[in-house]
Subunit: 343 residues, 2 copies
Amino acid sequence: MIAEVCQQPEALERTLAGAIRRADAFRKLLAKRKPRLVVLVARGTSDNAALFGRYLIEITTGIPVSLAAPSISTLYEARLDYRDSLVVALSQSGESTDTNLVLERARAQGALTLGITNERSSTLAKLAEHVFLVRAGKEKSVAATKTYTGQLLLLYLLAYALGGGVRFSDLQRIPEAVEAALGLAPEIEALSERYRFMRHAVVVGRGLNYANAFEFGLKLMETCYVVAERFSSADFLHGPIALVEPSFPVFAFAPPDRTWPSILETLKKLQHLRAEIVTITDSGNREAPDHATRVIRLPRRLKEALTPIPYIVPGQLFAGYLAAQKGLDPDSPRTLHKVTLTL
Amino acid sequence: MIAEVCQQPEALERTLAGAIRRADAFRKLLAKRKPRLVVLVARGTSDNAALFGRYLIEITTGIPVSLAAPSISTLYEARLDYRDSLVVALSQSGESTDTNLVLERARAQGALTLGITNERSSTLAKLAEHVFLVRAGKEKSVAATKTYTGQLLLLYLLAYALGGGVRFSDLQRIPEAVEAALGLAPEIEALSERYRFMRHAVVVGRGLNYANAFEFGLKLMETCYVVAERFSSADFLHGPIALVEPSFPVFAFAPPDRTWPSILETLKKLQHLRAEIVTITDSGNREAPDHATRVIRLPRRLKEALTPIPYIVPGQLFAGYLAAQKGLDPDSPRTLHKVTLTL
């Protein structure tokens, strides 16, 4: 897992270089046939990437996005009116049965379809009219890492293709920001010892980093067996904050962007409750250290829209090192296989 | 809380009787101006009701539904293209700042708007072009119960108004099914003792009962301070099941409908892992007792689409009694107030 986390700068560069031309062509096609709705369908880590895509596409293009509930097609066999829609399936393996079924039915109904996958010759790559490839190389660890960030990167290109104001020159800076985040590895490894006996936790994020809260929480569940709840900082205040007692661990994604006032309000409440707060932020956020028990600070100050990929890196490292602290093997969590088939 | 749980049959009857005419009028209006997208916006318990609405509307009408992410409007100030959309805000108090802001902006952009609230003279009731009222009487407990089931009932009427095949005669049978579920109170009170020291749990549901998994989990968090994760049975298999060790408590909504094969597959895996399984089902499900540590069985067999309201009742009772077992006051959870204001 840690080895694959460290492959991310290269994987991201390769993925971006390999997809720019395709994104340009797709943008031209979409300019003629602008979808009124974007539907994202996925499971597991890919579904967390979809959650990021939801925010990015709505924020940058104004086109409404719906995160599909696969059972509505697979179990209830409802026929959704996806005319004038773009249906995007995300799957590392391209072999998720339910995800593929939703895409196949949508295509049969006349929806434009796009597959985002790590496997060029997968079922998904064949079913979808258009394909964006994550070029991360084979992912061996059951806990997905480099394919998640690859999917996020391709979602920027999708937002671009949909007419959103995304610059390639900005995206080209992401691999070096990830490289810089990887430099935090020794610090994060040392920090992980403190959480050796942690059994449950809450992870909060908001806006473009909300998906990272889901993804970091999933990594804590899969690799460390920590019962990790995931909330937007706003939803957290609507009930679940009642959980928090002194020393209760809360991890927060806290970029110095327009979500910060909302995150800060939550952190202040948590400080009052004497929670254990770990924030993931960057050097541009000067207030963060005053509102946390421990701070993980990325060295580079990042543009607001570019934080999500570098910000998940400390979470991936933390989960990998904490698993080691707990004597667990993050590459082969109990009960799980790399490809899960559900309907 | 328990008193308000027990008021539900009357509150539901009142809500239904008071809204049928309005639903009929709304159906006529929507027949002339059929929305291409339904957007549901809410926080907390109301957001769980919205999750139910998402499944019900897509299944019964085929119109795509998007669950709004309020921060996209409130923090990022994106202008979403909600032309030809119906935007529905759900709020017990009608005073949720972010929910109201999303609705107000959508209306200004020309979207059709509907408010679903318990408060006739609230801000939401004034902002929305159309209003469906939950007539549950004042809800005093911080943990929402009767307003949740009232919102679910009005979402059936919304699905009807959108052209879905929902029969009033079916809805009229829901209050008696809830009354029958309330008869389980002594059994559930006795059962709650077993979970006195439970600190974390997982709640699973799927399809029309997926929202109940979220709502029961939220009640366990708010009133019992149990770290309760919520998953669809499919998503649970995509990673989080790694959490499960012998005696790990998992609660499952298990109606004998088309979600049962998927739930059953999950329960079998959980049995193999020697989890503690509590299923909420009804007398129509004969297989359930073979795949659970404890079964809560509603006495009446229910039509598939009608299970969600009666099925949450055992969850509400369980949370209320478990709070009492733990020496907590479910009406006034620590840290929370009845109305939470977020942006």
